[in-house]
């Protein structure tokens, strides 16, 4: 036993103190959820998802506008019938995702208006909440049933400035890219911190700084790559398919909504 330090002779059972605060886990999970939502490609060729995006876009815009302008229950019930009719044609998974979004919006709206209801001024609140829910539902159906590239294509068909589409396009792509990067850094941090680490929050600055440097690098590389590929900043879309019976039905439904709004929706 000569020559071996005494402490090596002891059997040690090191049990790290349980860590408080689950900020790493929470961040990892929330980033994973966002990335999963972004990277998922909805629209696997089911009926309503095959609609030409520009028609769906205009229809959604019109519906939201009419719902906001209407002054009574009749039009809201008509809009609900139309939106529910569209919703029931989607796949179960998409319906579940949309319903979750609408429920969150509903709870939020009711919470905001709760004081008005509590002091007895809730007369018009119900109609306002219904308007919010219907507008969110219309938007959620559009976004769930239309994959992002189709939305960008629809915007270019509708002559929305290219710079706007490009900014949105880049944002979506970079959220996904940089999200992956943050995830890797969070894993690295998690692997390196053993036991209770009181100064873990101070690493947040390092994390954000690294992210900024990386995104700056990525932006420069992206610019060069785009220049190399002769990208001038304009989105040119090739006409895909012709307008078919699906679009005709949707336009017909829009006309019905418009007529019912003019006939009854303004006053009732």
């Amino acid at each position: 036993m000569e020559g071996i330090p005494a402490w090596l002779g002891f059997r040690e059972n090191y049990e790290p103190r349980a860590d408080r605060g689950h900020y790493l886990e929470k961040n990892v999970l929330s980033i994973l959820r966002t990335l999963a939502a972004l990277r998922e490609r909805p629209g696997c060729g089911k009926d309503i998802e095959l609609l030409r995006p520009e028609v769906a876009f205009i229809s959604t815009f019109l519906l939201i506008l009419l719902v906001s302008l209407s002054r009574g229950w009749f039009f809201l019930e008509t809009a609900a019938a139309f939106e529910f009719g569209c919703l029931c044609l989607l796949r179960g998974e998409l319906i579940a995702r949309i319903v979750k979004k609408v429920l969150v919006a509903g709870i939020f709206t009711v919470a905001i208006f709760a004081p008005a209801i509590l002091i007895g001024r809730g007369g018009g609140v119900l109609i306002l909440c219904s308007k919010v829910l219907l507008a969110v539902l219309a938007m959620a159906i559009f976004s769930a049933a239309t994959p992002w590239p189709s939305i960008a294509a629809a915007m270019s068909v509708l002559h929305i400035p290219s710079i706007f589409i490009m900014t949105l396009d880049m944002t979506i792509k970079y959220i996904s890219l940089l999200g992956g990067l943050v995830l890797d850094m969070l894993y690295a941090l998690k692997l390196r911190s053993v036991g209770r680490d009181e100064r873990k929050m101070s690493s947040l600055g390092g994390l954000a700084g690294t992210l900024f440097l990386k995104s700056k690098d990525a932006a420069e590389t992206q610019y060069q790559a785009m220049e190399c590929r002769c990208f001038s900043g304009s989105y040119i879309t090739k006409p895909r398919s012709r307008y078919g019976w699906r679009e005709a039905i949707l336009v017909g439904a829009d006309l019905v909504m418009l007529v019912s709004f003019v006939a009854f929706g303004i006053t009732r």
């Binding site: 009749f74 019930e77 019938a81 139309f82 529910f84 919703l87 319906i95 009854f264 009732r268």
Partner: protein, 336 residues
Amino acid sequence: MHIPDNYLSPATCAVMAVAVIPAWVVSVRKVSKDLPKEKVPLLGIGAAFSFLIMMLNVPVPGGTTAHAVGGTLLAVLLGPYAACLSISTALLIQALVFGDGGILSFGANCFNMAFVIPFLGYFIYKFVKDRVTTKRGEYIGLAIASYIGINFAALCDAIEFGLQPLIAKDAAGLPLYCPYPLSVSIPAMLIPHLTLAGIAEAAFTVAIVAFVTKTSPGTVYVGSPVKTKPLYALIVALVVASPLGLLAAGSAWGEWGPDEIKDVVNGGKPLGFVPAGMESGFHFSAPMQDYGLKGVPDIVGYIISAILGAAIFIIVYKLLGLLKKDKGGSAIKAKA
């Protein structure tokens, strides 16, 4: 056939609710065990069918109306247990959103329409089907089964109505709830159903089963492809046809409001009073009472109600289909 609130005494409502609970429990167990995950949305389509068929009223002698239910139809397409759940859901939405059928009498309505019709209809159909060899014989069996099913339900309805004057009276001896005894309620309920509603039920059942067997055989036979497009097309056709139900003016027998019952003529003279239980009983105001919307033509309200109702059932059952656990086989298939 939808019993409104305050036509049955609370005690009768409680007994009927207790009577239908075992049917629900067994149906839920059977459906969650036997029905494959991909077939769960069919329950929603079934509920939408039943809902729309019940909106199509037919005028019957005596100025009242009656309607088909589609109970045997759903029992043959989905099985009696799934049909029981589908029709119960349809009745629930009808009561809560459209004010058709009462909240307290929900148990009684489910017993008559969601339990008696699908189970009785299905077993008569099976009995005949096992003894005939031709397709024609099978359809005749189906027509007989649906005809007997709806009439037996109407009889149950009539007995529940007719017992009320015997079990609930005030101090002056006047009935508190439904004022008509069995001698009035049984013929009043059975004559419309034996004549028109029964025939409508049989015709709907045979026509729709024939259509579905041809266009989407997987709905009926195991192993064949389930095509939902023809079913959706049928639902759209029923939605478009739903305002036909408005052609039949007047309420169905036993579905009058408290404001109407005083003037209902029976045996040549009006009733002349509103039963006390009806006047001061439980009142629930549904958002779209009687499938109508305030200030717009009935036909518009009817179509909007039909679309809303049908869509709600399909959405709810598609969501329930997600909750149902995948069986091993289909999970592997999905991965592949």
